[in-house]
């Protein structure tokens, strides 16, 4: 096959895939149903692999499809399906446009030691210790974090800008959405990777994919035995070298008529470039050298750094001020465990399956899921954790459990979720407004969906909260609503292993239906 349509086909498919990923991560209106999100995520290699490891069913075997695809066609996954790869292609194209004359690619030797060491270490660490290194290096999760941490806030800011203008014209079809940033430290790793991958792809095409990305390396190994691959017809080739210069993987050694299939991502650009029609995509039968490159894009880097580091501040500025009660509360909340999202089963189970792709963080309609800092320990960094100072878990919602691609959060029906206790309520009477100020409050009990927090008579006409841990599901609405500062008078302590909450029992009121007006 040497049709230039192959390249068009690749661009078309990858554009669709990229747009889908962009939409599911940037969907601040939460309109996309989970089932569609799951379809888009099905073929993501690492999430699917983890999901399969967890479930063992072939319904979760998207990775096998990828392996078969790779065995047939080489690393086409990297060009067609990997959102991070497609994103890099877009970025490197922008790079190419900005400096047209500049020859960025050309055949280079592979970073054999680096890439195989990374793969080997990753596999060893994952088997012995858990997914923690994978969390850092899974391309899908890296992409997810870029979208969640950097792109979505920008999309929301644009939305807010437009919503503001529309509001002036009395149109309220778009609503203003508060941008809530995460803790500064949570940005450190995504910023680092964003700069690394951004610069590498801007200047050197797919270098990240061929040097660092473990999925790329693994699929590259398999590609060495793939059936279809890019080949050069020696008799037709005039050794003009255009293919090599145009190859973003820097894998075509035109002098030797050799294509390094372990690095070729199947973009088919070379087929279009070749004026001799010597390059084709065909069945294997049975080829090394040009060097050049480099330039610093100071402006680009400056811009990115400013943007990346600026975002948290923009977001900070939009945070609402906490209410200020008259007297500061004095007793510190004594949290022994973080609260892990529903569907996680237990903190331990959750920690070993989550690659911190942040899809749940961006999909959570209430923004209660926040990237963890050290709540789960160093290894659980960036994994989602419930933050009840920021928000609370909506009683009627199971979104995070439905979309998790690695099955770290297992699907829960709404009925099951409403009885899943992810933490337990703790009341600190000495911090409570009712006791310290001797005035009515009840914000906690009012918010409680199960009435695990209820009010009992206190001094005079006052009512004070009391708790029934058995029916508490740990949603954190009470903690969020509690107006005391700096310490809350009520808080949820995480359950290391999720438990079953009892169903709230309700008795019919004795009040009768009035037949006459009581006034």
């Amino acid at each position: 096959m040497r049709s230039p349509l192959l390249r068009i086909f690749r661009i078309l498919i990858s554009a669709i895939v990229f747009i889908c990923f962009f939409i599911i991560f940037a969907d601040f209106t939460h309109l996309i149903p989970a089932k569609y999100i799951n379809i888009v995520l099905y073929l993501q290699f690492i999430p699917s692999l983890l999901n399969f490891h967890d479930l063992g069913t072939f319904a979760a075997a998207g990775f096998a499809v990828v392996l078969i695809l790779t065995f047939l066609t080489g690393r086409t996954y990297c060009s067609f399906l990997c959102p991070l790869g497609i994103g890099q292609d877009i970025n490197s194209r922008i790079g190419g446009r900005i400096k047209k004359k500049f020859r960025r690619y050309g055949y280079k030797k592979p970073f054999t030691i680096i890439r195989y060491s990374i793969l080997a270490i990753l596999i060893a660490v994952t088997i012995v210790w858990g997914v923690y290194l994978l969390t850092l290096l899974d391309p899908y999760s890296i992409f997810g974090r870029f979208m969640t941490y950097f792109v979505k806030p920008v999309v929301i800011l644009i939305n807010n800008f437009v919503a503001g203008i529309l509001g002036k014209f009395d149109v309220y079809s778009l609503s203003h959405i508060p941008v809530r940033g995460y803790q500064m430290l949570a940005y450190s790793i995504p910023v680092l990777f964003f700069l690394l991958i951004g610069i590498l792809s801007f200047t050197k095409g797919r270098l990240y994919c061929n040097m660092i990305c473990p999925v790329g390396t693994l699929l590259g190994l398999l590609s060495k035995v793939s059936i279809f691959r890019i080949k050069i017809n020696e008799s037709q080739c005039t050794k003009c070298g255009r293919c090599s210069i145009g190859c973003k993987s820097s894998c075509i050694d035109f002098l030797q008529h050799h294509v390094d299939v372990s690095r070729c991502v199947g973009c088919f650009n070379c087929i279009k470039i070749c004026q001799d029609k010597a390059i084709f995509f065909g069945i294997v039968t049975k080829g090394k050298k040009v060097i050049k490159t480099d330039v610093k894009k100071r402006k680009f880097i400056e811009g990115s750094i400013a943007l990346l580091f600026g975002l948290p501040f923009i977001a900070k500025g939009q945070d609402k001020n906490p209410p200020v009660p008259k007297n500061a509360s004095s007793v510190k909340e004594n949290k022994t465990f973080p609260v892990c999202p529903p569907g996680g089963g237990s903190i331990e189970d959750f920690n070993i399956d989550c690659t911190a792709c942040s899809l749940c963080i961006t999909a959570c309609p209430n923004n209660v899921l926040q990237p963890a800092m050290l709540q789960y320990g160093v290894k659980g960094m960036m994994q989602p954790v419930m933050d009840y100072h920021k928000s609370f878990c909506t009683y009627n919602c199971t979104v995070c459990t439905e979309i998790c691609p690695t099955n770290a959060l297992r699907p829960l029906t709404l009925e099951a979720k409403k009885l899943t206790q992810i933490g337990k309520v703790n009341f600190i009477k000495d911090n409570c407004i009712v006791k310290t100020e001797k005035t009515a409050c009840g914000a906690c009990s009012e918010s409680c969906p199960t009435k695990a927090v209820y009010m009992v008579p206190y001094e005079g006409n006052l009512l004070i909260p009391e708790t029934n841990v058995e029916i508490c599901i740990g949603c954190g609405h009470c903690e969020f609503a509690c107006p005391t500062t700096p310490f809350k008078a009520i808080f949820v302590d995480g359950n290391p292993v999720h438990e079953a909450a009892k169903k709230p029992v309700n008795v019919e009121s004795e009040k009768e239906i009035p037949v006459e007006f009581p006034f």
Partner: protein
Amino acid sequence: MKRRDFLKRSAGAGLAAGAALSIGQYEKLWSAAPGRAKYDMVAVMGGNPDAMFDLGIQELGGLGAFIQKGQKVLVKPNIGWDVVPELAANTNPMLVKRIIEHCFKAGAKEVYVFDHTCDNWVNCYKNSGIEKAAKGAGAKVVPANSETYYQQIEIPGGVKLKSAKVHELLLETDVFINVPILKDHNSTRMTSCLKNMMGVVWDRGYWHSNNLNQCIADYALFEKKPALNIIDCFNVMVQHGPQGVSKEDIVMMKSLIITSDWVAGDAAAARMLGIETERIEYIPIAHKMGLGNMDIDSLNIKRIKM
């Protein structure tokens, strides 16, 4: 100062005899002239929410007595919770719809609906049935989930609450119609007219931590007062309020109370719930501040049974 003069004049005929005793002067006056109505309060029992409203408002001369042609109207229901209509944590959508229809019939140019919800606002708007009902009747359903929609106002004379941030549409509209649902409340014991105002302000936490009952009463000093309070007592949550747990919390009272005096409205609502008015602390506080009359036995009430 035209508006102020108008207010002063219309107040002369006002029903607030006790008002003269209190400190403030014009803060306690109604924005719409209650003098026009034959009754201080209309109470209807025995029908569907929309039918009861049709009948009740007729006794007050129709909504046209409160809305002039071309005016912008704010209808403020309670949409606080992500709860279905049958469980009555939010104002009945049928009632909201019918009120909006009457607004347009009275010549309203635009009708707006919003609430600063407690649960996730998108879910609340949707699952309460109010968004659909209000849009169906031609109203604009407006978000209230972000601080950008709120503007700082002063409350002169407020004891605890001296300023607040209120939704811009409360300030921009000409007529304000308060449509609370009567419910049990876990700390104030009842929520109805005055308590419903916690849904037009941004920072509720301040109220909770600075004497909730006093703040609720203080807010009623703010000059933008409801022309009408329409209290939904169709399905009444008599326990586990304001959110409720299940249908066991609900008593179907099939009633509706319409009044310009929100303190009187709250006092009547308290009777519906069977709670002594004195126990719902913000009512006597508001009464003493001259914000309305909780002595409902002295009011001219039209009672209708369907």
